[in-house]
């Protein structure tokens, strides 16, 4: 840590010098303008002084100018910060890969610090041979790489009754999208030998919440992974180090972190997280259960309430993200007038199954108010509904699975706000 401390002092000094130079430029702005841009005509400290040595940051951090790009929480959403949630700063990110340190967190018993040498994965229940694996064992299975989004079932859940939180980080940030490296769950189950009556699995976490969910065998054998890497490096502690379950396209709660056991059974378990929680109450008092898949969804990440337009009229990049638990996103429509007229956005970057997709619409902003919305189409033909269309079916108390179309109102000054429109 002494190295980073030294770096901190050095860069603070450089920053102060930079601030002084900038202050001087502001004081004589008119003259400076006539004499040229001081960012060009004056020698900046980083042009003159030596930068950091390669031994300064063995594990690098973002520029100090990006210190606002962080996970944020909303204290009033939960009773305590241990069984709670924070949010990915989608408005500041681009492309489809979420940096590991910015991936939102959702814990039920806090982020467990597990010693990988003491970590075990047990497979028990309706199998030919009940097995125990060490991490070393798991590293010897054939592995695969896949990019998938993980979206909390409650993402946008605070918005069921109307516009509430002002920023896509808060309304849509319970999501991340990373490349996982792991062992297909099918191979681990095969090693134990699933009996014919084994129709469900119960993955269980090693943390104090002992998180469990029932997953049908068909999904377990299809595309689930037991992952140990994200974006090339070991899972972060808060993402389940050293082992997590990856359940592509399905609600984040099922992606059991700190995975320590998988039981095979003939019936679902109906545990707390699939009865009390992660069931969707309708207006008639009955509730859907086992609402596993995440429907097609999108959001414009800029402009948005945390990312206003600061450059005035003229060329404007509208950027956003879209995803579907049922496939890819071949198309996103964008409206700038609240849904009177729509145009197809430009998709950019890889189109991967059950992964985020990036879209852009490049417009010439005339300075008049914008009513921005995006509408995702997925590869099965499903078109993202409006919030009102969802409420007509589900009411306002289902908490989870809100994939309704988001509206941002952008005024003449470029300030954006979370609104609902007729």
């Amino acid at each position: 840590m002494s190295a980073s401390g030294k770096n901190g002092t050095a860069s603070r000094r450089a920053f102060l010098r930079g601030a002084l130079a900038a202050g001087g430029a502001v004081a004589g702005a008119g003259a400076a303008r006539a004499a040229g841009d001081p960012a060009i005509t004056q020698i900046q400290p980083w042009m003159q002084e030596l930068g950091d040595g390669v031994d300064v940051a063995p594990y690098g951090q973002p520029s100090e100018h990006e210190s606002h790009v962080i996970r944020r929480t909303v204290e009033w959403l939960t009773a305590d910060p241990v069984s709670s949630i924070n949010f990915t700063p989608l408005h500041e990110l681009d492309g489809i890969i979420t940096p590991n340190g910015l991936c939102f967190e959702r814990h039920h018993g806090g982020a467990a610090h597990v010693d990988p040498a003491e970590h075990r994965l047990m497979i028990n229940g309706l199998v030919d041979t009940q097995l125990v694996f060490t991490m070393e064992d798991l590293m010897r299975f054939p592995r695969e790489n896949h990019v998938y989004f993980l979206e909390c079932a409650a993402n946008s859940g605070m918005e069921w009754r109307g516009a509430q939180l002002n920023g896509c980080q808060f309304t849509h940030g319970m999501i991340h999208n990373v490349m996982y490296t792991g062992v297909p769950l099918r191979l681990l189950l095969n090693e134990a030998g699933v009996k014919t009556e084994g129709k469900w699995i119960l993955p269980e976490g090693a943390d104090a919440s002992g998180m469990t969910r029932s997953i049908p065998m068909e999904k377990a054998l299809d595309d689930c992974l037991v992952a140990f890497k994200m974006n090339g490096e070991a899972l972060r502690v808060e993402q389940g180090y050293p082992l997590r379950l990856v359940v592509p396209g399905w609600e984040g709660n099922m992606w059991i972190k700190w995975l320590r056991r998988i039981e095979v059974g003939d019936e679902p378990w109906h545990h707390r997280e699939e009865t009390s929680k992660y069931t969707d109450l309708f207006a008639d008092g009955r509730a859907r259960r086992f609402t596993w898949e995440m429907d097609a969804k999108s959001v414009i990440t800029s402009p948005s309430p945390q990312a206003p337009i600061t450059h005035g009229p003229g060329p404007l990049v509208i950027k956003g993200l879209a995803w579907s638990g049922r496939g890819t996103i071949p198309r996103v429509d964008v409206t700038i007038d609240g849904g009177k007229t729509w145009q197809q956005a430009r998709m950019s970057g890889p189109s991967l199954d059950k992964s985020m997709h990036a879209f852009y619409l490049d417009i010439n902003w005339d300075g008049r108010p914008l009513y921005l919305q995006s509408r995702a189409h997925d590869s099965t033909g499903y078109v993202q509904p409006t919030k009102e269309a969802l409420r007509e079916i589900r009411g306002v108390n289902s908490i989870y699975h809100n994939n309704g179309i988001q509206t941002w109102y952008v005024n003449e000054q470029g300030v954006a706000e979370n609104v609902e429109v007729s």
Binding site: V74, E75, W76, T78, A79, H108, G109, M122, I123, N124, T129, Q130, L131, V132, F133, L138, G162, N166, N190, E191, A192, A208, S209, G210, R260, R261, E263, G265, E267, W269, H270, H271, R272, T275, S276, L281, A283, D284, G285, A287, R288, R289, D333, D337, G339, K340, T341, W342, Q343, Y382, Q384, P385, A389, I393, N397, Y409, E417, N418, V419, E420
Partner: protein, 202 residues
Amino acid sequence: TAPDAKLGLGREALAEEVAAWDIDVRPDGTGLPDGSGDVLTGEELFVENCAVCHGDFGEGVGRWPVLTGGFDSLTNDRPVKTTGSYWPYLSTVYDYINRAMPFGNAQSLQPDDVYAITAYLLYMNDQVDDDFTLSKENFLEVEMPNANGFYMDDRAETEYPVFTGAPCMENCKDAVEITMHAAVLDVTPEETAAAAAEAAGE
């Protein structure tokens, strides 16, 4: 496709290892340990271990979960979903208390303790009398009020057909009016998240 070949990795789990970790309980009673506990014992244990967060009667302290009451509220504008009003299976109550409670001291209760606390929750939800004893033997006789309140995800039938097809692209509506502003509610955390939450009446 051909079945994957076994690699011979891992080792057989010992019976005592499976027993140590396999604590889950199902609605059909599978996984319930031997034991029993009565309402009055449950009350003592609840006051000692649970009431600091959940209240003496399961009513919830501050923002901690309400465990009791809320009957016939599921169609209300603001439903109160508790073990009594919402949870379909008693097995879930046993399993969850046993695996994850008390919050911060999980898996510290013995089977008899969990039976007793579960019995006390049933009593507080007016489902049993105060002399009731819950045991492995009579566990399945308890029926939860909302046991039939759930049905399998039916989006494929009720939503997917509604939300497919070519959407409107032009002249889709005449007027657009703002019907709700997040800024009016103003509960988004900035520098003063706590103050904002207070202002929102939380």
